[in-house]
Point group: C2
Chain length 369, copies 2
């Protein structure tokens, strides 16, 4: 009996990126996915894992930088040792995803992989599972299936998925054809997208047969494809280190959207499932504050151990020290109190935190990055 | 040859009050006068001492709570042991000043005392000395002489001295009669005062013969006067402790303005010297910020050891830890970073810090007060 689409499914969690807009909580040594930013008691990585277990059991792999091996292993006790794919150095999303696709398809040629970033927050796990099950059904028909987030406002900070006609796939009543991907729009275009109803936020989650991903890559980036395949062939052998050393440092850095998703869309091979769930990319502290406010925008939410005394204030406090923190008369404030660095800013300036990190990098303060 | 007025002069520094609006820098154990709040490298108490040395040499006494003895002795190496008058408990300003007046006049009956709070900031020491020398000349004519600060705006947070006709006293060309003292006015009255030119801020500094102070007190508060005199008689004897224990705890708490200054004004015995110098009472962090901004209101000034990275921000940072503090996009911010407590507020809310301290007191956080 052939495997069902669900039986072919294997999840992949690319855990990359430091999240410098979340400094000083997020550091090179402790990037944002290793932190609890939702107040749930689980880190973003653990939350991602927890959401995938009902769909994939222990068929979950993590692709991450070698520096984070111990942090990841500590947080994910159920992660199978063979399913942690460590990158020698960051080579952008195509290398990370293609490496996972190549290793997993070598182990299991008909595998359908689903890629889910380690640093997203999705509270409704059941709605997530329903959406991904539809995506798996559609992926089994030979498509790359993205998850589209229904816009709640005219965002200019996300790329968009342009959805076309409904697809007729059993078990996937919400699936639609994707016409194309659109990069971050300007304000006017974002407003048009928002009103049309046919444009969804591209959350970077997708499900596809590994073979489809590799085939697309072989057409768009043949050299990158061939090197990744050579590394993957050696991965579960004693020759892994040799091949990684030989090829990894020279791999082309290119985003998966450019190398695979967009070319596949141009061939009519991409579908989208509009998500039923609320989704946060937790990109900066304004996002964290939104996530934690819980419909109480006048609240000053606390993550961590700080003792807070707040008057006439709102926003968030991320506290890693147990000391007393008094905040008076500050709206939309962001306070991040760590042992060696303190950040104080506002929601409005949350994006500027990245500049602070740049300044620190350039002024010899690498010790706090 | 009789002593000159200057030879009769003895300065007194009442060092009372915790300064709870300067929490968490100012604590019960380390009140504001023990801190450098001007960025000068000297604490407020040391600054007060330094200003008085050219006028009084080592004829300077300090009246303070017993808890602050060691802090004061450490900061004022030149303070003569016999000139530190320790209060068993706080009994308001009349008891503090009358005790000093009584002890000093017992030692030297014709002494002229000048009282200068330990927590004021006055940068121009020469102008200060000129003003006080005038006050000493007028005091020698048998008057209580206050120092009036020329208002720079219609303040409602100070009491006022209502100045009358010029006095004809040699060596005191700026002296004026005082008609009366006026308590903190409402906004409209403050505006009237500001425009009239005849109302000066009452900075609580005064110079007067000790005998005049004690005589006024004997009329307005005879019981308080008599007990203070009994304590003072025993002060430089082995019976000091006995008399202090017996009388001090029951002394009436009353402000010097009510017990002595206002009754003396009603008798026509009060004069004022309008100050030529800039004066700050450093009452709250907004005052500290003003003092430190140095005409650069867009600056974020630093007191202490913090490494500050500020962007698009103004106000003050008081840092007791050496860690890195990044501040982005906050105007008129007040940040006070101490080992066990962090305060974040704005200049506008500087007065509310007092409420925070009250709240902490009532919620079992006495450890950080």
């Amino acid at each position: 009996m052939p495997k069902t689409p669900n039986e072919r499914f294997h999840a992949v969690i690319p855990a990359g990126g430091v999240g410098s807009r979340l400094w000083p909580l997020s550091r090179a040594a402790a990037p944002k996915f290793l932190h609890d930013l939702t107040g749930s008691g689980r880190t973003l990585l653990q939350g991602t894992w927890d959401r995938l277990v009902p769909l994939a059991g222990d068929r979950i792999a993590v692709v991450a930088g070698a520096a984070h091996e111990s942090g990841i292993r500590e947080q994910l006790e159920a992660l199978l040792p063979a399913n942690l794919f460590l990158e020698q150095s960051p080579r952008d999303s195509t290398a990370a995803i293609a490496l996972a696709a190549a290793i997993l398809s070598k182990r299991e040629p008909d595998v359908i992989i689903g890629s889910f970033a380690a640093d997203h927050a999705i509270a409704d796990e059941q709605a997530f599972a329903r959406t991904i099950r539809e995506a798996i059904e559609v992926a089994a028909t030979g498509r790359l299936v993205t998850i589209g987030i229904q816009p709640t406002f005219a965002a200019t900070s996300f790329g968009y998925v342009h959805a076309g006609a409904a697809l007729e796939v059993a078990g996937a009543p919400n699936a639609r054809q994707v016409k194309d991907f659109v990069e971050k729009p300007n304000k006017a275009l974002a407003q048009e997208f928002f009103e049309s109803g046919n444009f969804l936020w591209n959350a970077g989650m997708f499900v596809a047969p590994a073979s489809l991903i590799l085939e697309q890559l072989s057409k768009s980036e043949p050299e990158l494809h061939d090197r990744i395949l050579e590394i993957a062939d050696a991965w579960d052998t004693p020759k892994r280190a040799e091949l990684v050393s030989k090829f990894w440092p020279q791999l082309k850095k290119i985003a998966f959207d450019y190398s695979v998703a967009e070319p596949a869309a141009a061939e009519g091979l991409v579908a989208v499932i509009p998500a039923e769930f609320e989704w946060h990319d937790v990109g900066d502290f304004a996002g964290v504050a939104e996530l934690l406010s819980g419909g109480r925008p006048d609240n000053l939410a606390v993550i961590g151990d700080a003792q807070l005394l707040a008057e006439d204030s709102s926003g968030i406090l991320v506290g890693q020290s147990k000391r007393l923190i008094a905040v008076v008369g500050l709206k939309d404030i962001i306070i991040v109190d760590t042992p060696d660095a303190l950040l104080i800013t506002t929601k409005e300036h949350a994006q500027s935190v990245k500049n602070i990190v740049e300044t620190l990098k350039n002024s010899g303060h690498g010790d706090v990055l």
